[in-house]
Assembly symmetry: C2
Homo-oligomer: 434 residues x 2
């Protein structure tokens, strides 16, 4: 395809008529498609159906002899912590097993930091709000809307920093963290939501070594897609806890993870992993809140996955179901948009999303066109703090939940909407009306 901006006026108008006709034809099919959320598909959940009858009648003793049915064992069963230690890049002793939501663990870290402070800090993070300086989080963009929603909820300032393909722009990050009111940074270091990029070793090194104005600065290290590969080549990143310790900042990282996209999205395990000092802080707070997480679900996970090898075999089964969906999106985008200049998009090697940048100023128009054609897309702007993308460009595509046939149809429609929005914008820019 020729770049849209390079088309002559008659060529542009011809392409506009043709694209509109194709769009109208798609709309006429009356489909109802949804590419909004990163949910596993039913066939992925089927992979874990065996868990529905686990641990099984009379199987409730943990290895150390604890009755998993009763109260206690606040930190979580040792065998469950050991099972997920490689995924979390932390020794089992430095892992806490929570309930089913890592977002909840992040939430709790934030409210505890606001109300109680964290190790190494002179005061609670919320106490600075009194002095009119709300604490701030650095927010690589595009990023995860639920991270940003937590900051909005608790009036934490958000400082966007561009992602580079190797992680965040570290020059910008290093400049921002000099401010002592900058208390933390959101990081999805591997197969990032939504760009799919993997933080480079150099990015990780600079994050662990940078000088921060706040003595109690924390990386909120949401390693949500640690084992969620989409290719046979599994990308790995350094253990952030080891790297922080090596850099002389052992307490810098809070690590979060879960099995929501490994076993069962609504009934998985979530994890907190960190330095001994941070873990002690977390456990002291958590023990005010609960007598312990659901240990039977921990046992259920151990009985089902067994060990690291079992976990990796299980993730291979997910990959077999997911990779074709991602390839279908990329194929549709390639076919319709390659060379047009209407969009650039990621080709993630893992994770749950494809990030796409449409022509600046068209993302909302694309979502509206898609909606009118029966296709739900994540709202434009949702990958930015406060739901506002200043470029009105980024779109997050979530191809995991629909069937492969629906993903294929939806992807063709998305490409069409992106192309049409770019053509309309170019047409308007030339002062012409159709």
């Amino acid at each position: 395809m020729t770049r849209i901006v390079d088309l002559s006026n008659p060529e542009l108008q011809a392409l506009r008529r043709q694209t509109r006709a194709e769009y109208d034809a798609f709309r006429g099919r009356g489909l109802r498609l949804d590419m909004t959320r990163g949910k596993p598909a039913p066939d992925q959940l089927d992979l874990a159906n065996e868990m529905l009858a686990l641990p099984g009648n009379r199987d409730y003793f943990a290895e150390a002899g604890d009755d998993a049915r009763n109260y206690g064992v606040l930190q979580g069963l040792p065998e469950a912590r050991a099972l997920f230690a490689p995924m979390l890049g932390a020794p089992a002793e430095q892992i806490f097993v929570a309930d089913n939501s890592s977002l909840a663990v992040m939430h709790d870290c934030i409210v505890w930091a606001l109300l109680k402070g964290v190790p190494g800090g002179a005061s609670a993070w919320g106490s600075t709000m009194v002095q009119q300086t709300a604490p701030a989080f650095i927010c690589p963009v595009p990023g995860y809307d639920r991270h940003f929603a937590l900051c909005e909820e608790y009036r934490i300032r958000m400082l966007p920093v561009a992602l580079t393909g190797q992680g965040p722009d570290m020059d910008a990050v290093e400049a921002l963290v000099a401010d002592p009111s900058v208390k933390a940074m959101w990081c999805v270091p591997k197969y990032s939501n939504p760009t799919g990029e993997v933080y480079s070793a150099e990015t990780v090194r600079r994050l662990t070594a940078m000088r921060t104005g706040a003595a109690d600065f924390r990386l909120f290290w949401d390693n949500a897609y640690a084992v969620h590969h989409l290719t046979g080549q599994q990308r790995e990143i350094p253990s952030i806890l080891d790297a922080c310790a090596a850099a002389g900042n052992p307490d810098r990282a809070f690590v979060f993870g879960s099995t929501s996209k490994i076993t069962l999205a609504g009934a998985g395990l979530a994890f907190f992993a960190s330095s001994p000092a941070n873990l002690a802080w977390f456990m002291a707070r958590a023990f005010k809140r609960t007598i312990g997480s659901d240990k039977l679900n921990q046992l259920r996970h151990v009985r089902f996955l067994h060990d690291q090898a079992g976990l990796m075999r299980h993730m291979d089964r997910h990959r077999a179901l997911l990779a074709p969906k991602f390839r279908a999106v990329e194929a549709a985008l390639d076919q319709r948009l390659a060379g047009t200049g209407a969009a650039t998009w990621a080709r993630p090697e893992g994770g749950y999303f494809i990030s796409l940048d449409a022509v600046p100023g068209t993302a909302k128009a694309v979502v509206a066109l898609a909606r009118d054609a029966g296709l739900a897309l994540t709202a434009a702007g949702s990958t930015w703090p406060n739901g506002h993308d200043p470029h009105d460009s980024n779109l997050r595509l979530a191809p995991t939940f629909p069937s492969l046939a629906d993903v294929t149809a939806a992807s063709e429609a998305i490409a069409l909407c992106i192309l049409l929005a770019a053509i309309e914008q170019q047409t308007a820019a030339r002062g012409e009306t159709g």
Copy 2:
């Protein structure tokens, strides 16, 4: 028995020698007994062993067609909310199903109130801390140590109010709530922890109708023992939500409950129930924290208990196991202490504890004597705010977890320790040494 204070000096010394000898004999048995925590016994957990294999393979669709394995249904499955609606005294639409810990739900209400405020409030509860007036909770005493620990954690002032056998001293409560910094009150209205008392209808009425200085005052209504009867005569209290609505204060109560002492202590369901306005507030906060609770565990509970009749049948089975343990404690106390004036104790008709008041100034001594004889008791003072009982009198006995034989042996030892401590105190008061 004669009252200890009425004994002649020779009689007192004779009783002292005899009691010491019996205590030494008990200590010599080298037992290791634990009456510290309100945990279900293994035979109680066995009652729910069927749940270990539920919901069962391929059983994951909720009534409305939702896939209970996946994300979503933030409020909880309608059938799970309906099942526990009678227990909570709330319509299913006004119930939220949380994870396994009602303490966690209380915790979250507190941190959200501190950071965000509650409906009807002009500001977040924590904002008054800036003005040197920390928010306060009224704390009926003796009460639940983990309630008080939450207040300690978040620097909430605690205002103790005496319990009367019909609930808290309402004259004292009504006087305290005139202060607008008094934001809330802990209530365990039925089979209270630890006194076992049941709030009277008049107490409930006054709690709902009283004028409060704070427009956003809340009753933290921890109805933990709603269906935990120890006798065939089931005590009932009015629905606090209905009573608040009738009194024109529909948003006054936050209701908490759980199945921790119904199904599996570490793997139950917890609940929040309240007015529509409070529920909307709670859900808006909760949806920042999580995409939803574990719905498979909700389905598991529905499949196991079926309905209100099934729930009550299940509680009858608990009662058959628990009532003998409570009777054993009471028998031992009666036999050894009746008429001595060394203690008064409750005869609860439900719940998990027996509250005992030893001679003022002896509770710590009793716990120390018990410890030396191999018997762990809850620390003296733990039923009071900040762990400090100004009378050094109250003891909380938890007879549910040990076997009946152990409860019997422990109760005899407890009675002996209480008697010995009272005798030693009386001896010291008379200026004599043994």
